[in-house]
């Protein structure tokens, strides 16, 4: 299964867990699966229209996803890392 890596600001719904294994063949499916396990997580990642929030970035095995990132395919063993542009102020 792919692994979703959660940044510190979004670990409220995951009760502090920084990595979650989730079933799915695309980013969208994996995020939906993660939200089923940890309700509230998806709303932090995508907006009401279902698009990635502008302050989030997704990386697959270390490479930034471009274009329709939610449709990007994921395979077993892939690591999907979420990065949030939040720090300080």
């Amino acid at each position: 299964m792919p692994t979703l890596v959660i940044p510190p600001p979004y670990r409220g719904p995951t009760q502090g867990r920084d990595r979650i294994e989730v079933a799915g063949r695309s980013v969208r499916e994996c995020l939906a699966a993660a939200d089923a396990l940890h309700p509230g997580l998806l709303a932090m990642i995508v907006d009401a229209g279902g698009a990635l929030h502008r302050f989030n970035r997704l990386f697959r095995n270390g490479d930034p996803l471009q274009g329709d990132v939610l449709a990007a395919p994921l395979a077993d063993g892939d690591e999907l890392e979420l990065l949030s542009a939040i720090a300080g102020g």
Partner: protein
Amino acid sequence: MAEGLADKMIRVDMTALTATTEPFPAAWRLLGGRALSARILRDECDPKCDPLGPGNVLVLAPGVLAGTSAPTSGRISVGGKSPLTGGIKEANAGGNPGQDLQKLGYRVIVVKGKPADPDKRYGLEVDATGVRVVPADDTKGLWNYALCERLYQRYPQSASFMSIGPAGEMQLSGASVACTDEKGRPARHAARGGLGAVMGSKGLKYVAIDAGKLAVRSPAVRKDFFAYAKEYTKAYQAGPQMFKWGTSSVVPVANMLNTFPYKNRTEGQSPDAATLDGKRIVESFETRGGGMHNCMTGCIVQCSNVVHDKDGNYKTSALEFETLTLLGANCGIASWEDVADLDRLCDELGLDTIETGAAIAIYMDSGGMEFGDAEGAKRILREIAEGTELGRAIGNGAVAIGKKRGHERVPVAKGQALPAWDPRPLKATGVTYCTSPMGADHTAGLIINPGMPPTEYARASQESQLANAACDSSGFCQFLQPNMEDIAKYYSLYTGENVTREQIAEMAWQCLADEWAFNDGAGFTAADDRLADCLVEEGVGPNHGMKFDVPADIIAAAKQRFEPREELYKLKATG
């Protein structure tokens, strides 16, 4: 130390109105910024002194690397006993004064005493020919922007300035010390803790620093230093650049995390997050001009926005997340343009936007005016300059206006208003607010991790406090996010000594220890390591269920030193 100029320090006696220079002690060679300020205050200031009396010591200390070609490294610490908290205070600012002092070889300015005549004003001149205290009665009462315009008529365009506005002259506890940015605007403030009042109490209206055409300081291991700085810059620019659009772009995420306080922190989210979102400011660049810039020479972060009005004229810089929160959402004010006006007024008067925003919100919450009354808030700020009773109470901060109004919801720690980052969803940050010698100050140790288990709060807070103390001593900006390994390498190449990451951690701990010792001497006890009752009893978030419920033993543990672990050395400063 580095090649070239010998390190010196400036001592100013405002009783005798003299300024002298002396060699900088070799024992302090690796101390700068916050750590240097803490050491000087520990050694030379009676913690029981009157913060506005002659016994208080005002310290202006650039970071170790200020004035070098290390990127984003020119910050300066302003230190002293705070009239707001009654404890030690360090407020850190960008702009060019820190770099200019270091280019001249000055590692610190130490100001003591107080003029016999409180109505007199003075300036301190620092340039290649020496240092002088000069009369400056003609600048009395000037707002910061008008003051700097006048100073640029008197001093070369290459000069930078540190100054106070009317709030500092009136010795109000929310007063800041302004630093001119790269464009010569007094827009960068050492804001927290009322150190502008300390400067005002000494009759010092401004410090003018002119490094002329002096080059940056020369490192001991020149070639490797320059190569490392280049490599470091390249790596930063290839990274996520979290502050590309300024700190104000954090608004929607903070709102989502229930740390965008609304109406005197009675809620953690604001219905006006969209209109206060920094994205609106970025959008305004298209039609009005303005944009992002670096607040000091050599900055690669460039997080500072320049905000223009509808006619395309400069209004203020920088409109930060903290200001949008405290003077915006926390006061129920929905328009970023109104907050820009309030920000400009605070910069003009020389006031901390966090403390002032919190004070206005308390005034509103206590029935003094309606939440959301932006014009009323602007009127109050103008009253501060007029010295009215209400204006003075607001200018003296959250606790002062709470007392005046007999209002109990006063969200503070150690007498200082909380910044935007809320300790109820971010409990480890709350532990920082309780235990930091600075009181409620997010730059002392911010941890944005709402899912952190309680067993980790104490260590996380301590490690964050250490990382930030190391950063604030180096001259680096916290937004560059250097860690202790980075700082050790820079120090090694700059000084020619083998400075280890363990030494950096030790110096950071010693900085905190010096500050805690000062506060102990000032009369603080463990009973002061707490947040205001309203933050413990009133929640935010779903069903108002997020409260600051961290047990006292966990809070106390943050002040007991943990064995350093690998993660400490790699932890990025964040504030």
